[in-house]
């Protein structure tokens, strides 16, 4: 028996969330072989890192046509790998690639699937996993009853291991058909160099209290002092002050950083739904009655235009 792990290739390196998936698989493996599968051009050293995280073997589909998220092709290749490796489980990190791959493979191989999984499975009686539901407001314990299983993990479901040994690297050439390339990706447009919001360990978000897009410099400065990603509330992206992929909440990105700093955001329940998996929340708001304070760990009542630059300065001073 073996456990497959789908690795997302971010321009030549495994995404951190995928390494979490490898370590999750390794922690639940109970003797089963952990086999990672990665597509497109990737550095050899990056393949080693996948071994350190817990994979015994890496299947590498070395085809530059597969560099960009070719979801249908990935699913076909993974379904074939299930057979080839006699696998009974697929673990992957949730993302804009991982989610659709999981859904499609689940039908191809006839697997029980759970996404949004937050902890290791409990196999004392059946195969139970805990998953986040109601947009972070509750959890469900679900039983995956089929022989084959697919687990989509939420950020922080596992800690990345670094003590694994060098993996066996195997070139893998699955059978791909024209129909696996039916969706044409014309272009991708991504913020480069910045910390990506869904993966960020610290997030600084701004709301309507910042008055306009011209005032985002101070949010970016604070984020930079912390190595953080920037986020925003829904009205801010609706008004085009910030791009949509920064919008946090019920209808936007769900983040799970260790630190979330909210500036000039009232704390509407729909915004909180996207941040309630954060470890520590800091709220800066001029209104002491702002509902966000009820969901926060630390708070400052004050004018953002005064507090934020001072805070950035204090952090930079503490860093030096």
């Amino acid at each position: 028996m073996s456990i497959l792990v789908f690795i997302e290739n971010a321009e030549g390196a495994a995404k951190n969330s995928s390494l979490e998936a490898v370590s999750y698989a390794s922690a639940m493996s109970n003797g089963a072989e952990v086999i990672a599968i990665v597509f497109g051009s990737i550095e050899n050293q990056a393949l080693e890192v996948i071994g350190k995280a817990g994979a015994a073997k890496v299947l590498h589909v070395d085809d530059s046509k597969l560099n960009m998220g070719v979801i249908q092709a990935y699913s076909s290749a993974i379904a074939q790998a299930f057979e080839k490796e006699n696998a009974n489980t697929l673990v992957l990190a949730q993302s804009s690639i991982g989610d659709p791959v999981a859904a499609s493979v689940s039908i191809k191989v006839g697997a029980s699937m759970a996404t949004n999984v937050t902890e290791l499975p409990d196999t004392t009686d059946g195969f139970k996993v805990k998953r986040s539901i109601y947009t972070g407001k509750a959890f469900a314990i679900v039983d995956l009853s089929s022989d084959k299983k697919i687990i989509g993990i939420k950020k922080n479901a596992a800690v990345i291991k670094e003590d694994g040994s060098a993996p066996t690297i195997e070139k893998y050439e699955p059978n791909l058909e024209d129909k696996d390339f039916g969706v044409k990706i014309l272009s991708q447009n991504k913020a480069t160099g910045d910390v990506l919001l869904p993966e960020a360990d610290i997030v600084v978000s701004g709301g309507r209290g910042l008055k306009g897009p011209e005032n985002w410099g101070m949010i970016e400065d604070l984020a930079k002092s912390l190595g953080a990603a920037t986020g925003c509330s829904k009205p801010v992206s609706d008004m085009d002050w910030r791009p949509h992929h920064e919008h946090v909440g019920q209808t936007g990105i769900k983040v799970a950083p260790s630190l979330y700093i909210a500036v000039g955001i009232s704390g509407a329940i729909q915004h909180l739904a996207g941040v309630n998996s954060s470890k520590v929340i800091v709220v800066i708001n001029k209104d002491p009655e702002a509902p966000f304070f009820k969901a926060a760990d630390y708070g400052i009542v004050g004018d953002a235009f005064d507090v934020v630059p001072k805070l950035t300065k204090a952090i930079n001073a503490a860093n030096n």
Binding site: Q72, D99, P100, A103, S146, Q250, K294
Partner: protein, 245 residues
Amino acid sequence: MKILVCITHVPDTTSKIAFTNNNTSFDKTGVQYIIGPYDDYALARAVELKEQSGGSITVLNVGEAETEPTLRKALAIGADEAIRINAFPSDSFFVANQIAAVAKDGNYDLILMGRESIDFNGGQVHGMVGELLGIPSLSPVMTLDIEGTTAKMAREIEGGKESLEAELPLVLGCQEPIAEWKIPNMRGIMTARTKPLNVIEPTDNTTRVATNSFELPPAKGAIRMVDADNVEELVQLLKNEAKVI
């Protein structure tokens, strides 16, 4: 163009989430139900596409009789007919199978869904339906335009978006800003009463995931306030107490 829009019947986003029966069922007391917000975007875009180039919109829900007011609301917003598959939506695979069965007979050009349901948060049903039908599925789709038999779309990816092109038929999971939510007008509400709402029984009862019980997250501890003139204290707390920076 024939469009199928799959909608969920879910607690309003401000609902307090609680469970009963020894944490095995959702507590519906005082809860208002709405069309899933993402499904509402899908429906709004379907109405716009119909306004542009004609066709018909069918809305579908897999649920028990209590979901009918939600289907009627979708009819009031602009769908032409509704289908309710009379069963509790026990897992994503079960739901996907029911939707695929309707879609197989329906010859739809587009099957629009939300990127995810806000109760179950699976993000799975569209991908499963696409695979069951052997047609591509894409999610989360932020813009959608149809030119002949080709769909041009933008899909959100981490930190940005990609632009895509694919041939119909397609299954799409939608999110903003694909369209603005539509509020039903008086005329819509009146005509919705007489539009067809067909109830059909499930075709296949297979499920693959069983829900055993529910839990609520642990309550948050008390907040610690810091003076605006003493931001250094906050930095110290984050460093030494919370240990997050």
